[in-house]
Symmetry: C2
Subunit: 320 residues, 2 copies
């Protein structure tokens, strides 16, 4: 281990040492036994970084836009941490980083740290691992932290929901638009980006989104109404306006109940996910033999799964 102690690691993270950041996030990825100690040492520093969640279907230009966004933030003298959630094979375990290559251009700057995290294999759930990684970025003192996910499924929406400001990227003529509307993305997005605004259909998409926004319910307490920003990421067009809207969102709502509620929701999920992760660890660890026997009985139709879960809880209780 490069770091003689958790204290040394915590110090390295605080100075944005890339090796320290990488090591800390690896501990999260591997659900290390050192994690509770690490988290207890960095807890007091939470909540300074502005967390931006970015999602969109594959092919809409998400990586290109994120890269342009980072450039813009850095040009303004701000520091940016990026956590890219990579879909990975549930079997091979390998993350495909092909479309991350361009983003690695940034890896040399001291103002930027980019790290990808596989979306699979987190015992306590991906949301839990993501929230813990955000604590690391926050402790490192990045002005902005970007969480980027690929895809439009339930899990991806859950991840970006962790953010303070949620950016949803779309592009004309992509099949994902209706699906996104269905999946409830309209209700959670703070900013819609219509990328590739020079392509046919972009105006119609922007109009449709504005209509969706005008039809959706906005509660009285909300001071922010979702906006649509049009960009061409490859030529940097509209990226300055996107930055403006991201900052404006924070200014407008950071003293609002909705902002505090999102952070409360995040803390609530964190505690619950850790509790669930610990339960799962016990089931797959100390009580594994009983669990396997119960599983075989349920698969054979000899036992119902509720009784099996009860038996498991009983055994855990007796063990205390």
């Amino acid at each position: 281990m490069r770091f003689p102690s958790i204290e040394a690691l915590v110090d390295a993270v605080a100075t944005r040492d890339p090796r320290g950041l990488g090591r800390a996030i690896s501990l999260i990825e591997n659900n290390s036994a050192k994690l509770p100690e690490l988290m207890s040492k960095i807890a007091p520093s939470t909540g300074r970084s502005h967390v931006i969640g970015i999602t969109g279907a594959p092919g809409v230009g998400k990586s290109t836009l994120t890269t342009a966004l980072i450039d813009e933030f850095v040009a303004q003298g701000r520091t940016v941490g990026v956590l890219a959630i990579d879909p990975s094979s549930p079997f091979s375990g390998g993350a495909l980083l092909g479309d991350r290559v361009r983003m690695q251009d940034h890896a040399v700057s001291p103002h930027i740290y980019i790290r990808s995290m596989a979306s699979r294999g987190h015992l306590g759930g991906l949301a839990s691992a993501t929230t813990q990684a955000l604590r690391i970025f926050d402790h490192a003192g990045f002005d902005l932290t970007i969480v980027e996910t690929v895809g439009v499924g339930q899990a991806e929406i859950e991840i970006v929901s962790i953010a303070d400001t949620i950016v949803v990227i779309q592009a004309p003529n992509f099949a994902g638009t209706l699906h996104m509307a269905k999946a409830g993305i309209v209700e959670i997005a703070d900013i819609f980006v219509v990328n590739k605004k020079d392509h046919p259909g972009a105006q119609m998409l922007a109009r449709d989104l504005n209509q969706l926004i005008s039809q959706s319910e906005v509660s009285n307490e909300q001071r922010w109404c979702p906006v649509v920003v049009e960009t061409v990421a490859v030529t940097n067009t509209g990226v300055d306006r996107l930055v403006t809207m991201i900052d404006k969102h924070r200014q407008c709502v950071s003293d609002q109940p909705s902002w505090a509620r999102r952070r409360l929701d995040r803390a609530s999920s964190e505690i619950r996910d850790i509790a669930v992760g610990q339960l799962t660890s016990q089931i797959m660890g100390r009580f594994k033999d009983s669990f396997i026997a119960l599983t075989e009985a349920v698969a054979a139709g000899k036992l119902d799964p509720y009784q099996a879960a009860n038996d498991l809880f009983e055994e855990m209780r007796r063990d205390v």
Copy 2:
């Protein structure tokens, strides 16, 4: 309540009474306190129905193909239960059933039962609710049970993975193809369908899929190598061959270790999900006040989430 007792409900399910089936699945959706009793009464009958998982990106023709598939099964004198997982808004809670309308044509036949279930709001998780619903369909004695999901995210893949036979539908010129490959769908699919085979690009897609299959690792114990079936769902073209391949998959692998392992995995997830659901119920119920206080402390940076989870476990332990 229509049914005077759980016994009466179990009997109604066994005769495929649509009201009984609907009521039983509602109990699952609402995470009813009666669920453990219901599940214990139907447990001995598990494992007869052939469960087929169907997924694909929005727009590939999934509903049309599922409808054609049902027609074909019924023409052969077989009974079919369909569980359609509907993406629903996390906020409004409403499921959009627009593309389900055609499937409702089948609702009048005694050989078919179709039910949609919202993908959101399941305390023990969607996978857990789906597995429980499969027990209901199994107890009802359907020859085949189809589980259909929309989308290509992690959660959707997790759901279809529950099935005995996994069918992944694609169509030419959809952006989801690369994403699916990334998300590990290649490893889990037993049958790929290239729908809209009369459209440009279909031949290339089928060739690409066959190439992906030939490159993927096939373990020695496997007797089945994924196949590609080309269809035009709107004209019923190729649907008979799809039925043949689904039956062939069962014949080829039902005595194989991989088949038994999938059913063991299903039982293992069931027990774990129920245990997690019970933990979550307690956190959100009996220990809610403590949980809220801990959440506020974590959000304020006064407590780290691991310590909070520990405090919660301690309190639960003292309460026993």
